[in-house]
Symmetry: C2
Subunit: 150 residues, 2 copies
């Protein structure tokens, strides 16, 4: 099957300069702020986005190494299949984060609750729509002790 | 900035053979079932995934054309910036869907609530974790009349 090629549409600027200091999730980012620098040729695509309070970012984990199909996340004592984890190192190192959108000025988006390392290439922005993006009656597998399924 | 290249990890098989019959969202798919055929070399990466009730699929809208930065989604009367919509035709045509995971047999995943066209190349699978993937106090911009923000 043919490979898929994407051209980054922008860069994510963040206070986190190394993997060690980058929060594992948006919910433990303590409201950290960052900016998205959308490449100017895409600015028209932002029309109407300012009316949404939250956006989903899709980006490339550009520093991640792919360690194999079984991985031991930092917060776990054991190995799990990579597709049962959110580890950055994956066959295709695609990341998704839901962040709060504070303001858009031209091609710059100011965002809050960032859990992304500085300099990350951005691939897509989508409006966050809870009814599409969340599901109820969820079971959480090996993460059940750590997170609430509701 | 350098282009990013991903190799599909599998194919999504679905009852929907054309764009017209494919539901716009998982919530209006009426429980439609499909299968993911993961390429066998990735099967070990599924370990522990069966314990999750819902998974996030990241895939390539392989049939989508990119119509420009302003788009008129099927359910809207007016044009919006492409990043304020979930239209398949986007600068990087990446799709995300949260589906229910019914069963895994070897390299085949049986899924429910599919809103994806048959033959779609799969790029990644992540466990769905509500506390990471949803946000409260959401405002929904031009979609506020259509959806509830809660």
């Amino acid at each position: 099957m043919e490979a898929v090629k994407y051209n980054p549409i922008g860069i994510i600027h963040s206070p986190f300069k190394t993997a060690d200091e980058t929060p594992l999730q948006t919910r433990v980012s303590n409201g950290a702020r960052g900016e998205i620098e959308l490449f100017p040729e895409y600015t028209h695509g932002l029309e109407d986005l300012y009316k949404f309070s939250h956006i989903t970012l899709i980006y490339h984990f550009h520093l991640a190494e792919h360690p194999g199909l079984l991985v031991k996340p930092g917060h776990s004592d054991s190995y799990h299949g990579v597709f049962a984890t959110r580890s950055p190192g994956r066959p295709n190192s695609i990341g998704i984060s839901v962040v709060r959108l504070e303001e858009i000025c031209g091609n710059i988006l100011y965002i809050e609750n960032i859990d992304i390392i500085d300099g990350t290439p951005l691939l897509d922005i989508k409006p966050f729509i809870p009814i599409l993006d969340r599901q109820y009656a969820t079971t959480l597998g090996w993460l059940a002790d750590e997170f609430d399924g509701s």
